[in-house]
């Protein structure tokens, strides 16, 4: 059997519910999508619960599913994925936190949780001032994210993620991180000492002297929350026997793919993670990667953004652009390619957030069994022959269609 290459196109948040402003139909049902429909007509379709029926997936847990991992056994809190998303990819045993640059007064009361939404280059300079720190034998790594967001990674023996937040999540006194189980004392002490040092180092830092003069809230403390252990993930290339890469704009998706051992390709012009992303350039990058890699995951964030914003008309426009991207891929299909079009969750415009509805799925490759599904949308894909799958079943299905699955038994 010829081993094929797999392209998984994840149209983030694409699935929807019946929209009031679209007469009870979904954007996918309303928009003309001749190319996505061509894949449905010539492929096999179904619907898919990323986690399980009715469960609202995060983008992190759903991508773990899409990469063939059981999310309930692998997902150990958001911290590590946020950290990995901004380039702090840890390893088993490391503990990571999401952090905010915040403003405290002299009595250590939080007066602005986001330090006036401080951003680069101030955050870069401030983070540089914390580098190279070791506390009680534990290496401390910090990295800034977008605006007031940052991540903290601790590395060393005897760490535990079972500690409470230093961030009070509201105005008021900075909290002491407390151990939540025996064996977490060291980590709590390190977190508290780190928070204290961030204040000591930053309170009179030139950046904050300048911000004071300009009347801006000082970014004078870094407050960790959401501790999580880096999961012990069997790297994707070893687990599935495929050289794998991802093309994505959003930090968290890159982080997940990085933690799972995929090569995260940098395509700055195509990967903005915003509505302005150049989908054709992204498809080009993914198809080009497929010359070197056995598996490429491509994430397009735009539909999710329009869902969160509650803009049916914007989502319609994004759907039409996705169809143009599908045309680009269709024109470049090769016999040894398996292509899947799907979503990581629904973000219905009338809900404005992720929901647990199943997402549409169409898989195309030369030589599969065609079914009766004629159009790629939430309703029609349910009439495809794939039925209703779980997210973590998709990768095995694709690998089997790619003649890459191993036999269980003789």
């Amino acid at each position: 059997m010829m081993k094929k290459r797999i392209l998984m196109v994840v149209m983030d948040g694409l699935g929807d519910r019946g929209c009031r402003s679209l007469g009870g139909l979904t954007p996918l049902q309303v928009a003309e999508t001749p190319n996505l429909d061509w894949f449905a007509q010539n492929g096999s379709s179904g619907i898919m619960d990323l986690i399980s029926p009715g469960v609202r997936p995060g983008s992190d847990t759903s991508h773990l599913s899409l990469l063939g991992y059981e999310p309930y056994s692998v997902y150990k809190g958001r911290g590590p994925f946020e950290a990995a998303g901004i380039g702090l990819v840890g390893r088993k045993g490391d503990v990571a936190f999401r952090c905010n640059f915040s403003t405290v007064d002299e009595a250590m009361n939080v007066v602005d949780r986001r330090a006036g939404r401080v951003k680069e280059p101030d955050t870069v300079e401030l983070v540089n001032a914390l580098q190279g720190m070791t506390i009680q034998g534990i290496e401390v790594h910090v990295r800034q994210g977008t605006e007031h967001r940052a991540a903290l990674l601790l590395r060393g023996p005897g760490l535990s993620a079972d500690v409470s937040d230093a961030d009070p999540h509201e105005m008021g006194p900075v909290l002491e991180s407390r151990p939540l189980s025996p064996g977490a004392d060291l980590t709590a002490r390190v977190v508290n000492e780190f928070v204290r040092r961030s204040y000591e180092i930053w309170k009179d830092h030139p950046v904050n002297q300048r911000r004071r003069q300009e009347g801006l809230p000082e970014a004078n403390i870094l407050l960790p929350r959401g501790a999580g252990s880096f999961p012990d993930i069997d790297p994707f290339p070893q687990k599935h026997g495929m050289k794998a890469a991802c093309v994505a704009g959003v930090g968290m998706i890159k982080g997940i793919c990085g933690i799972c051992g995929l090569d995260v390709l940098d395509v700055p012009e195509a990967c903005t993670g915003g509505l302005d992303t150049d989908m054709i350039a992204k498809a080009e990058a993914a198809l080009s990667a497929l010359k070197e890699y056995d598996f490429v995951l491509m994430n397009i964030k735009a539909p999710d953004l329009t869902g969160h914003d509650g803009h049916a008309e914007e989502k319609l426009k994004v759907v039409r652009r996705l169809d143009t991207m599908a045309a680009y891929i269709r024109e470049r299909l090769e016999d040894d390619m398996v292509v899947a079009f799907t979503a990581d969750h629904c973000t219905p415009v009338d809900a404005g957030d992720h929901t647990g509805d199943p997402v549409p799925l169409t898989i195309y490759t030369q030589g599969l069994v065609q079914d009766r599904c004629q159009s790629f949308n939430e309703a029609d894909c349910a009439y495809g022959r794939l039925g209703r799958l779980r997210g973590c079943d998709l990768l095995p299905v694709l690998m089997d269609m790619a003649n890459r699955s191993t036999k269980f038994g003789a």
Copy 2:
């Protein structure tokens, strides 16, 4: 997102197989059901395995599933549910038994397992004579059910449900309850002492003196069977974050809902648990409860009874009445309501008992994705977009449609 309220309409035993007397069709396929069909046409449909494909559910295990519990991990024997069904709702650690009022001769041989189907007020008087008993430090609670049925609940330290029955299940000597595992000795001793005392207290009780005179079998012993531990159930309101109630006529359903922490509403005129139930009054009670509660489960026992009796014509009549009830609900729909019509199992008239066939399911709310299912029955619902669900997936699906699900991940 607007949080919606959920009404789950459980039409007990509704699903069927092709009936000989109906030309191979099911009662749902034969009866005109324009209102149930309206819900199918405007909602999302599917079929559902309450436990798993081909497994015949009891009404107890299936309702646990419908309430979002994994029945294999929660269900620990029938005793606790029977006990709770007649008002003996215990707590973790309690052990409960189903019991029969029986007749024994002087050699302690059972001569009538049902004591001539003794009933109230005799059973009430006899049970009163047993109240307030403590045996070896264990509290003993007894309650009569319908006719010759009763329940026994033991409460105290060191109990185990791993004991054999005192009821021989046939004519012959009363059995000694035996411990079936180490640590069950105390419980077996308490059961045996309780059985002995029931005989001592009842053999010359005025009720039995009178029954002797009237030539009726004496109810002179209470024989426990089917020991079960009260499960450690995470109460529904805490587990799912919804204030919840049930409207039901059958004791066991009330018992299950009670054990799960739902408020069991008393609507005597509507909740007979029989064929004579006033379905409209029941729907009215359920809709009224929905003003105060986030979730209401409504159980209608009538279709199950006609299935057990093997009466296709009677089941057809019940189906038509269910459709009238559906009309009543349809006329009172509000935008913030999610309504599910389904069954807890099939009770096909030609089988005369529960079967493991999947049941039909239709969910309606404003703004969901419509599908191609046009009529509510065992065959057509299989062509809805929900596909084939598990019973314990239904509640998460309904909660997600009600915008009440929590996100797993970020």
